[in-house]
Symmetry: C2
Subunit: 408 residues, 2 copies
């Protein structure tokens, strides 16, 4: 094999990606670790626990109905089943406060990851400058590299900016001026759980409009909003719709990740390219799984309200535990189930500490470096977990921070 | 949006791809068509009918068991669930006559399309010369273009070559000599149903070994072999295993397409890159769906035998109908359920005839141009259909060929 392909894939390392820790088994286990192992039920914070927060009621039954429908459900258009798409589009129009117009369309994808891949594949090619928020979802940066685009980082100063996400809007405008054609961002932000303020969303819309940039906004967690939080949908602003793709899916809040479902909607021209790409990537989202989307955005209100209350209670307990100790800096998540504390200076490197947490405390987290080069001192928790187990695991995490604290 | 991305996607047209005909509804229906509509039950030969040949027994139940297993089945490694992979690898080793070695691995993908996309994404980058058989599966050529590779066509003269596929081996060697680093082929060939002879497979293995080329062989239909046919697995030859990826899946013969499952196995280095790519494409094949692979390659022998007999009977009837009329040239498929007759000269263009078939005879086929520029005069049938409906549809096809025959 030639060097170019090996070089390309060197940028796509996954050994620290969520859920892939099992593949590190070959590493020498004890090297550099000090002290005893802490007893307790292991918790994998690298993704949500769908055994603690169960899939939406009726999901399996709806899948089975899809299966029994037979060939018409197995072989849908590449875009996805037309009637299911129409229903989801209607409900997403209501949810975002901006009905789909005649110049817009919707595609069903294998997970929101599938939507993100197709959206970036349909807008980024060799040399395309792409503005990427830091920190943000780790795949964003990898996708820019995979499609041979040029990464233009935009800092988000989330730690000292209550009431807004802290995106550096001057830097964003400079990027657009310098030729960035695409902006990718998650809102709520993954990994920090921060929501962009109305003023920030308006500024993004205005700047993207002014410079003709395409915006891909990943709103995967926009349904799980905590008490008192308001959310601004980019597609409900002055943002030109022909340059906007919104991504959503039922994998997180609704615990339906095992069905591999996501959607992207917006600019018809981009969705059309995404469908062409889907045709050579995986043909379509799983046919029978698509049926499960009939339930989505149509759950009982009480079900969603209870899910939010329960996540908020876990959030509050974890935040209180982390804030007890010196040197930990953390912003309270406003939505979703990610928590991204910045740790004090430790005697071991960040990746070694993540390994120590796993081996000595049974706590799996995702290292901050996955989310941007500036986040090496942070770790990400997905606290969509059993409440008591999460609290106990946070206590063990705090104990290990104290154990490895520099100068302690 | 810039021109480069529009140019890139112009090569990925899907409007004539299987199952996408519904999207052509806007086309003026009657233009250029002559004569009456032929009555009869519509048949969509663009893909198999999973209502005529049902999914493997127990598929749904195994999916439900996977769902009930919960989080561990929803969130597998990117490669796929380790124990399911081990079982499938064992059975594929038996099936191909070449057990997986320590330098090999297996990845579960969203359909065999997913396997093909990842395999080519892991081996083809800007400027990589890729040998592609013509005719062959339409995505092969599109994928070379998407990854900015250079397409090197290798003709397969299947019409006059009983006992072998008819691959031009001189042309293949010339391609390797000229720097082609990758060869992609389907065996049995899609769209012709031809099997490569042992001598041809040995020649491919020898040439690939001599020139250090990587081979991606799509064996999707290699289980459905008709009476008297023998099949040579490339991985059971002298082909260097570190340069070989074999693709299989349960979407066709086993009618499990609605679960979106495929596998690729072989070179550990390539599979590792494929897993990295899967991490940014769709994370993993649907978690619950992966459970269905537990049944695969472990079906009762009688079930497969019956499925083969029934397909063979349909094949024989369709071949007899097509051969009744002058000017149709067709090779009898040796495996799978594709039939690729070359039509006599017609008064309308090939794409117009395909449209006429759909609108005037209720017969949906895939135009030959999808499989290579030399196949414009051919159409592809997937005859995994209700037997009586397929025969009646073939009679209507023959009637339309006569109707539009040039010089008639």
């Amino acid at each position: 094999m030639t060097n170019p392909i090996q070089k390309k894939f060197a940028d796509l390392a996954t050994e620290n990606a969520p859920g892939q820790e099992v593949r590190q088994a070959g590493t020498a286990a004890g090297s550099g670790l000090i002290g005893e192992t802490l007893a307790g039920r292991p918790v994998d914070f690298s993704h949500g626990d769908v055994d603690a927060f169960l899939p939406s009621d009726g999901a399996l039954e709806t899948f089975v109905e899809g299966y029994r429908r037979g060939g018409s459900q197995a072989y849908t258009e590449y875009l996805g089943d037309a009637s299911i798409r129409a229903g989801v589009a209607q409900r997403l129009g209501d949810f975002t406060g901006a009905a789909l117009t005649s110049g817009e369309d919707l595609i069903i994808t294998p997970g929101t990851q599938g939507a993100l891949f197709l959206a970036m594949g349909a807008t980024v090619t060799r040399g395309t400058k792409v503005a990427i928020v830091e920190p943000d979802y780790f795949a964003n940066r990898k996708l820019v590299r995979f499609f041979d685009g040029v990464l233009v980082p935009i800092a988000m100063d989330y730690l000292d900016t209550q009431g807004r996400a802290g995106l550096n809007l001057d830097r964003l405008e400079a990027a657009f001026k310098d030729g960035a054609e695409v902006l990718v961002l998650s809102n709520p932000n993954n990994p920090t759980g921060v929501i962009y303020s109305p003023a920030e969303i308006d500024a993004i819309a205005t700047l993207a409009g002014r410079y003709g940039a395409t915006v891909i906004v990943d709103q995967l967690y926009s349904r799980l909003l905590y008490e008192g939080q308001a959310y601004t949908h980019l597609r409900a602003t002055a943002m030109p719709r022909e340059n906007l793709i919104t991504i959503m899916g039922p994998s997180k809040t609704e615990s339906l990740s095992g069905f591999r479902l996501g959607v992207a909607f917006g600019s018809e021209a981009i969705i059309e390219r995404m469908a062409k790409l889907q045709a050579i990537v995986s043909l379509r989202a799983g046919g029978y799984s698509q049926a499960v989307l009939k339930l989505w955005l149509a759950e009982p209100e009480a079900w969603m309200a209870e899910r939010i209350v329960k996540h908020q209670a876990i959030r509050d307990d974890l935040i209180a535990i982390l804030r007890r100790i010196d040197g930990v800096r953390v912003r309270t998540p406003e939505a979703g189930s990610y928590l991204f504390p910045q740790l004090p200076k430790l005697t071991i490197g960040a990746l070694d500490f993540v390994r120590a947490l796993r081996l000595q405390a049974g706590v799996t987290v995702t290292p901050g470096t996955e989310f941007g080069p500036g986040s090496f001192q942070s770790i990400r928790f997905n606290y969509s977990q059993d409440h008591a187990a999460a609290v106990a695991a946070a206590e063990r995490t705090v104990a290990l921070i104290e154990r490895y604290r520099a100068g302690a």
